[in-house]
């Protein structure tokens, strides 16, 4: 537990190195939603606004920060050159990545908070079922984290090559239905979307906002996240062993 806590607090200390980033995390989502908020002031507030902003944009940030923070998360350490030193300690790559996931979740709560504050600044009350909403967003974050852990393991096994950040982010976003409901996708893509925890996160948040219940989605979200986590954990063990055998620990 102590190693994990030490690593999470390091993640938070990192934010201090570039304080403007923290400002940017607070301001840029707010600026992105501003046109919607202005429209809302002109024409009144409707459910579509909550849907596109609260679900689309917010979860998009969760996806993108977890992708950078966990899926491609060892890059910072690789660039710093500390991976081998870290792994000379009694911890595994899994511990490093779980710490990064927790750090990223905290960062996202901050982003979410800033966005909500912006809503209030524009005089738009968010009539959300708050506990359900926050709970679902956190569960979605956990689901995405599990997925990203498996992705991180693949990155370590096969290197980045064409798996660029943008490509992964765009395809995950499109397939999980961040902007549009996933059921509108062509069938093969829709099938892929059913394998992504984020899809169920988004759908259940949408449903809660529309006044419904979450039903089986929540089970699929948690279950799939857990499956990815377990697969990722296994793959990380393989990757770690392979790096130790080949002498490529810390290479990228």
């Amino acid at each position: 537990m102590r190693p994990l806590l030490a690593l999470v607090s390091k993640e938070l200390l990192d934010l201090r190195a570039y304080p403007l980033d923290l400002l940017s995390y607070a301001i840029s989502p707010a600026l992105v939603v501003t046109p919607y908020l202005l429209l809302a002031r002109l024409f009144g507030f409707d459910a579509g606004l909550v849907d596109s902003v609260a679900v689309g944009l917010l979860l998009w940030y969760w996806l993108s920060t977890l992708l950078g923070g966990v899926g491609l998360g060892l890059e910072e350490e690789m660039e710093e050159g500390v991976v081998e030193t870290l792994l000379a300690h009694p911890i595994s790559v899994l511990t490093l990545l779980v710490a990064k996931a927790l750090g990223t979740v905290l960062l996202n709560l901050y982003i979410t908070g800033a966005m909500v504050a912006w809503f209030f600044a524009f005089g738009i009350p968010l009539l959300l079922p708050w506990p359900a909403f926050i709970g679902l967003v956190l569960l979605t974050g956990a689901g995405i984290s599990g997925f990203m852990l498996a992705l991180a393991a693949l990155m370590l096994l096969y290197k980045r090559t064409f798996f660029t950040y943008d490509l992964i982010q765009a395809s995950l976003g499109a397939l999980s239905g961040v902007a549009m409901p996933a059921r509108l996708l062509p069938r093969p893509l829709w099938i892929i979307s059913r394998a992504l925890p984020l899809s169920y996160g988004i759908e259940s948040v949408r449903r809660v906002l529309a006044g419904g219940g979450v039903g089986a989605d929540i089970g699929l979200l948690v279950g799939l996240g857990l499956v990815y986590f377990l697969v990722g954990r296994k793959l990380l063990t393989v990757a770690e062993r392979r790096m130790r055998a080949a002498g490529t620990t810390g290479e990228f």
């Binding site: 030490a6 200390l13 710093e80 081998e84 000379a88 130790r244 055998a245 002498g247």
Partner: protein, 320 residues
Amino acid sequence: MITCRGVAKTYVVRERAGLFRRGVRREIDALRGLDLEIARGAFVGLLGRNGAGKTTLLKIVATLLLPTAGEVEVDGIDALREPTKVRRKLGVVLAGERTLYWKLTAMENLLLFGGLQDLSRREARARAEELLELVGLSGFSDVSVEKFSSGMRRRLAIARALMHRPPILILDEPTTGLDPHGVEEVWEVLRSLREQGTTVLMATHNMLEAERLPTRLLIIEEGKLLADGTPQEITARSGAQRMAVLTLGSRPEVDEGLLVRELDDGSLSLAVPVDRLPAVLGQLQADGVHLANVEIVESGLWEAFLRLTGRPFDTNEEEP
């Protein structure tokens, strides 16, 4: 304390053959069956030419690298089967300066790595203060590492490796790139560890360091153990003697076995064992060779290393 039995490591690399063509697969035998026994409290210096396999050996002991064959035990624990347990016993300082988080302060680095060794926050802070004192960085506790000089980073890296009071310390070239003051500062820390009975395994290219700190030296060559003994034993065994290096104005009629080298300015340099100096000087005088300078080379280990690792004093530069 550290035992290696038949440790071998073969790296497989693929050569690059241009943008699209796959290069040939190549195997590099970095270690070829190394047997080694390091006793508790020993301070062992690991010498060897570039690419001899020193870092490879250190990383295998540190569980960062798996050997292709052989067994490694650290404090009685199998390093291949139980790497995590072994890591608790070891402090590891890898080569270079990039073994710390540069954006964090000295204290934050120590607290983080102390945490990774399962120290509580309070224990870690007390230990960190003690160690910053030991490595002479107390005044820089809250300065970020990117603002440090190379020497400060090296000392902080050693402090970091000592957070959990490991019985064994592994160091890869801890003083490379430091000025003599920086080197002395690191040595002071290492000497105090030697006195406290910490077992140390240290790779180095600094012959002065290898002469002064270790109680035992290992020289490896192409992945095999070439020499093992105290610095004095190794120097004596190599047949290296104190040498006089003479700078001459013209080419002398020298004996076989004396080593001549032509310098950039056209003068010649001749290396002579000190015990043969009177005879050689007499000969030079008889031949009327102008003697421009005489220098006595003191570092026995320097020369012993050159002899043992197969490149004696520039012998071949004469022949075209």
